[in-house]
Symmetry: C2
DNA sequence: TAAAATTTTTAGACTAATCTAAAATTTACA
DNA sequence: TGTAAATTTTAGATTAGTCTAAAAATTTTA
């Protein structure tokens, strides 16, 4: 169908467009740990295949076909992550690299059976929504914990940094998906947040609060 | 670690040596659906990496390192096949191509967890033994059903043809792993076997009997 | 708005795996 | 045992994806 590399480019472009409203050659290169020249070559190839819209120097967007491929990969990635955590008992900070490989297993029937085996989960272990087999994905209404005002309460729904170190830190202080937190104070001096959860008081930095996403 | 292609060559060489006591360039090419010239190139590369013993025109054997890689791939292939059949409810004729992809997922921890999740199965859906995490594999004592004499009884333990058409045929006539069969007659004319199982009488060709393996 | 800085693309080369065609070697057998 | 057949290897190309270095285009800024 499409090569491993093409799939990674499409996924990367999808994620960049999700956040930035545009995906530059340099951004794509950075996210794939490759060089801008390599990206340009691949953009030409993907445009040739009608998976992206591309004009020299003008940036890229995904065509409906490209979007479909990207969402298929993201679906597989998130279902495999769910499997690894829910069935094989891996921790949420351990599964990313394995899912990066598993997402390229081609069989659609396999992923549909896996989804059924797990009873149609709606979210992956990091709180990201899982596209259905038609490539439809539920938009999430989320805000960073940083946006909460004093005395406001919210439920942790996802994280925007998937690095192992961040996830391990959250695990350690028990700020995990589904936990309800209340912002009990915002420090004047450094604007850190004091949050209360499970009757425990925790102090978290602005950086942490930025990457903790709260359901709206 | 090793490339996808290197892994396939090592696996193929392992399987050929299992059956033939030697793996020729042409045999490897046929089993990998490639050309002899390509095989020669790869043999040089694998010899360079000390995964095979190779001298021009003299055929190949696996080094201990090469054997370990091959058994690692076979272990993954068979555990994934077991997963697909036992957990995802695929039929035994549907899983080969998926397992061909899954066997290259690199994580050893993943495959060990998968093995644990399935309670340490000893055989894959086709009756082939699953190597343990040290790469040790139990030798099976098997003979083709063709070798059974009249009135002899045996239990189907494995199959030596993994093609979908053969497996579907066996499924249809219900000659599956674990079934006990008795050779009730050997036809004089065409040497077909009449076998009885579950109180039903079946007539099978010599070709089928050759590929049905009976536990000794 | 023109020079400077940045970004992107092009040109040309490299690697892994493949191929065809031809040459070298081994095996089979008359 | 020597020639024919079969097998295997070499030589030289090709493709996908990557790279560096240099050129081109865009954006920033003074």
């Amino acid at each position: 169908m499409h090569t491993y590399t093409e799939e990674n480019y499409l996924k990367s472009i999808y994620h960049l467009l999700e956040q930035n409203e545009q995906a530059s050659t340099n951004d794509i290169a950075a996210s794939l740990k490759t060089r801008a020249a390599s990206v340009t070559d691949m953009l030409k190839k993907l445009a040739e295949k009608k998976l992206i819209n591309y004009a020299r120097y003008q940036g890229v967007s995904l065509t409906p076909a490209g979007q479909k491929v990207a969402l298929g990969i993201i679906r597989k990635h998130r279902l495999w992550e769910h499997f690894l955590v829910d069935k094989l008992k891996f921790k949420w900070d351990e599964v990313h690299d394995m899912a990066e490989e598993l997402e390229h297993i081609s069989s659609v029937e396999l992923i549909n059976r896996l989804e059924q085996f797990m009873d149609y989960p709606q979210f992956d272990p990091h709180g990201d929504p899982i596209p259905n087999s038609n490539g439809e994905i539920k938009a999430q209404l989320l805000q960073p914990a940083l946006a909460l005002t004093q005395h406001q309460t919210g439920v942790i729904a996802a994280v925007s940094d998937h690095s192992a170190s961040f996830l391990q830190y959250l695990e350690k202080i028990q700020l995990t998906i589904g936990k309800e937190i209340k912002v009990t104070e915002i420090t004047d001096y450094d604007l850190c947040l004091e949050v209360t959860t499970d009757n425990k008081v925790l102090n978290i930095s602005r950086e942490v609060a930025k990457n903790l996403l709260i359901a709206l």
